[in-house]
Symmetry: C2
Subunit: 409 residues, 2 copies
C-alpha cells in the first residue's frame, strides 16, 4: 500500500548544530528489536527552558517530573527513553524517574532540578531502571554536537522515519539557529505512546520568553494536528535556549526584533508537526482543513478538529470520495455556534456548497481529481465572524486498523 511517507523528507535533514547542545544515543534493550532507545542531551549551564505537557489527567511519571522542574526555567540536561512510557506505574514509576534524573545529574555534575526526563512506549508496565542507570556514564562521554540523526532515531517508537527540522534566523540582525527533533505516528501508537518534540536554539532569551514562545508556537503547530483523536499520557514539547550566541537581550514577546525569530520557530514546529501527520499510521493522504468565519479562533479550531477527527470524513478521503455531506455532519456535531444557512464549503478550492445549500453545477472533475492526489484541502466558511484556524490530519485506512488491531502487544 502506498503511504504519504513520500511527502516526508526523503532523508533526514542536515540539522544545524546548536552551540551549547550536545547529544548521544544508545541502546539499552527497551525495544524488542534492540534499536536505539535512550537519548542524553547535555546543555550549556545558562540554558533557559519552556515546555508544553500533555493535558491528560493520567500523566506519566516523567511528565509529572518535568512539570515540577519547569517552574525553575533552567535546564542542563535532557534524558529520553523510548519503549516504555512509565505511565500508570504508580509510586514505583515516580521513584524510577527520580533515580534516573539523579544519576543523570551526577554524571554531568549538575542539579537534579535542571534535568528533564521524557518517556514514550507501553503504558502500565514498570520501567526497567538499571539498564538506563548503567548507560548514563558511557553516554555522557559520547556527547557530541552533530548526533541529531541518532537522537531522532532514539526517540522513535512505531515511527517509520526519524523527524527533524532546522533553520537559521536572526534577532536584531544577529544570526541565530533553531533545530528540533520529534516523534509520533498516531497520537498514541500501538502500545507505544506519545508525541514528543525537543527544540533547541542558541539565542539568548529569558525563561519567561522561552515559555511564552513555545506555548504560542505549539498552539499553531502540534496542537493543530490529529491522527486519530487519541491523546497520549506522555505528550511533551520542550524548547531550550542556550543563549550561546550572545544576541541583544529581548524582554518582551512583542519586541519587533523577535518577529522573524518567532516566525522561524513556528515554521520549525509546523514542519515537525507535518512530519508526524505524514507518518500517521496507515495514512495515504495529508489533509489540511481550514475553517474561517467562526466566532473566534477556539471555535474555528474546534469545528476544524470535529471534521479532522470524524471517522466518516477520514474514510471518505481514504476512498477518494468527495462526500461533503459528511463534512456538514461533522460541523453540526462540533457543538459550536454556526448559521446553517450561511455555510460554504470548498474542496480543493472548488466551491461545492454555498449559503447552506448544495451548488447544483460545479466542476466535479476537478474535485474528483483533487481527491486522487496526496494533499487534500477542505475549506469551510461559517459566515459569522472573523475566527479562523487550520488543522492537519491524515486519512483513516484499513491499514490503520490492521496496525492497531492485528499487531498484538
Amino acid at each position: 500500500m502506498k503511504t504519504i511517507s513520500s511527502m516526508a523528507p526523503k532523508k533526514f535533514p542536515e540539522v544545524l548544530r546548536i552551540d551549547g547542545v550536545r547529544l548521544a544515543a544508545h541502546s539499552v534493550g527497551l525495544k524488542e528489536e534492540g534499536s536505539l532507545d535512550l537519548l542524553l542531551v547535555g546543555l550549556d549551564e545558562n540554558t533557559a527552558v519552556g515546555g508544553v505537557l500533555t493535558q491528560s489527567s493520567m500523566p506519566s511519571a516523567s511528565v509529572d517530573f518535568c512539570r515540577e522542574n519547569l517552574r525553575f526555567g533552567k535546564a542542563k540536561a535532557l534524558i529520553v527513553n523510548s519503549g516504555n512510557a512509565n505511565a500508570f506505574t504508580g509510586p514505583e514509576g515516580g521513584v524510577a524517574v527520580k533515580r534516573i534524573a539523579q544519576k543523570t545529574a551526577k554524571v554531568l555534575s549538575v542539579e537534579s532540578a535542571s534535568v528533564f526526563v521524557a518517556s514514550t512506549g507501553v503504558i502500565g508496565e514498570q520501567l526497567p531502571v538499571s539498564p538506563i542507570l548503567d548507560a548514563l556514564l558511557p553516554l555522557s562521554k559520547k556527547l557530541a554536537e552533530d548526533s541529531w540523526h541518532q537522537a531522532a532515531r532514539a526517540i522513535m517508537t512505531t515511527d517509520t522515519f526519524p523527524k527533524g527540522a532546522t533553520c537559521k534566523t536572526n534577532i536584531n540582525g544577529k544570526e541565530v539557529r533553531i533545530s528540533g527533533i520529534a516523534k509520533g505516528s498516531g497520537m498514541i501508537a500501538p502500545n507505544m505512546a506519545t508525541m514528543l518534540a525537543f527544540i533547541f536554539t542558541d539565542a539568548y532569551l529569558s525563561p519567561k520568553l522561552v515559555q511564552k514562545m513555545v506555548s504560542n508556537s505549539v498552539a499553531k503547530s502540534f496542537n493543530c494536528i490529529t491522527v486519530d483523536s487519541d491523546t497520549s499520557t506522555n505528550d511533551c514539547v520542550l524548547f531550550f535556549a542556550t543563549g550561546m550566541v550572545g544576541n541583544d537581550e529581548v524582554t518582551s514577546i512583542n519586541d519587533p526584533f523577535l518577529k522573524e525569530f518567532r516566525r522561524a520557530l513556528d515554521l520549525v514546529c509546523i514542519e515537525l508537526a507535518h512530519q508526524i501527520v505524514c507518518d500517521g499510521e496507515g495514512a495515504t493522504k495529508f489533509i489540511s482543513i481550514t475553517v474561517t468565519g467562526a466566532v473566534d479562533f477556539p471555535a474555528a479550531r474546534r469545528i476544524a478538529f470535529s471534521i479532522a477527527n470524524s471517522p466518516l470524513v477520514k474514510t471518505a478521503v481514504a476512498g477518494e470520495d468527495p462526500n461533503w455531506g459528511r463534512i456538514i455532519m461533522a460541523i453540526g456535531k462540533a457543538g459550536e455556534q454556526v448559521a446553517r444557512d450561511k455555510i460554504c464549503v470548498k474542496l480543493g478550492g472548488v466551491e461545492v456548497a454555498r449559503n447552506g445549500s448544495p451548488i447544483k453545477k460545479y466542476d466535479e472533475v476537478a474535485v474528483v481529481n483533487h481527491f486522487k492526489g496526496e494533499k487534500i484541502d477542505i475549506d469551510v466558511d461559517i459566515g459569522l465572524a472573523k475566527g479562523e484556524a487550520t488543522v492537519w490530519t491524515c486519512d483513516l485506512t484499513q491499514s490503520y486498523v490492521r496496525i492497531n488491531a492485528d499487531y498484538r502487544s
Copy 2:
C-alpha cells in the same frame, strides 16, 4: 467476516399491535435497489407525542419541522422516508417537508401541525418530492395494524436487518403495550444518515408525561450508544401514546403506578439501541463499558464515551488484544476529574489494574479468553464518588473502513 449480527434477533420479533396505530410502507424509488423507502403511520386522534431530536447544529429540514410541531404535543400521522436526508438543502428542503406534511394531512383529513416527518439518507441532495406526494393516497388506503415488519424495513438505509422491540406492561393493573422500530448502523452510515426510532403505546398519558418519559429513557438507551462518534443531522426518537387502552389518568412521572411502565419503556429503548450497535458497520464485538466512582452521572458517561470512541481501544478489541493501557489513555483524555492513583480497571470481571498501578499477577488466560468472545465487558472505577454510567459500542474493524471508504457515493 463474522459479525455480531449473530447477537441480533434471528428474525424480526412478533411486534404487538398497538390500538390506534396503523402502518403502511411503500417503494417510491429513493433507494437505488428499489426497496421499501416510505412509511406512513396513522394515529388515533387523541395521540400524545414527545420526542428527542438531534443536537446537531445542522439539523435537517424534517427535524426543524418536528421541533416546531412537538410544541403542541399532539400527533395524528407520521411520515418517514429513507434514501435522502433532506439535510443541508436550504429553503428548498424546508418547502419540500411542508408540502409532504400538507399532503399527508389532506389524505388523512388531519391538521398539518399534527403530522411528524422524518428523513434519513444522503445529505446535501434535494429530496424528490413528487413521487412521495403521489404515493400518499394509495399508502393511506393500505394502513394496517400489523405492518410492523414492513415499517421497520422501510426506514432502513445501510442496516443489515430490521429492528423492532415490543412488550406488555401495566399501569395500575391495566395491561398496556409498548412497541417500537428503529434504524441505524453507524451514527451516520455511508451517505446515509441517522438513527431513527419510533415507539408507540396504547397507554393514556398526557403530552407532558410522554415528553418527560421519552427524554428519560433516551438518556439511558439511545444516548448511551456510539458506533463511530459521528452524530447525524437527522437523529430523531418519537414516542406516541394513543391512549386507547383507557387506563386511570396518571399526572406525575413519579407516580408509583408508572414505575413498571417506565421500566418497560427503558427496556424497549435499550433493546432497540443494542440492536443498532449489533448492526454497527463492520462490527464483530459488542462492548459494554461501565464507569463507576465518578463525580456524577454526566462525568461517568463522558469518561465511558471517551473509552467507547477511542479508535485505539476499538481496534484493540477488534484484534482481541486486552491492551488496557489504551483504556488508561482514553480515561486521561476525557477531560473529567479523576484521581490517577485510585483508578481500578476490570476486563471481563478480572481486575488488571488497581489504585493507579498494574496488577503484577492476574488471570491472563481468563482475560484473553474473554476477548475472544463476542461480548466484551470493560469496568472502570474512578474511586472518587458515586457517579456511574454504562455505554455500549462495537469494535472498529477493517470492514468499517472498507464500507465507508470503498463504497463510493
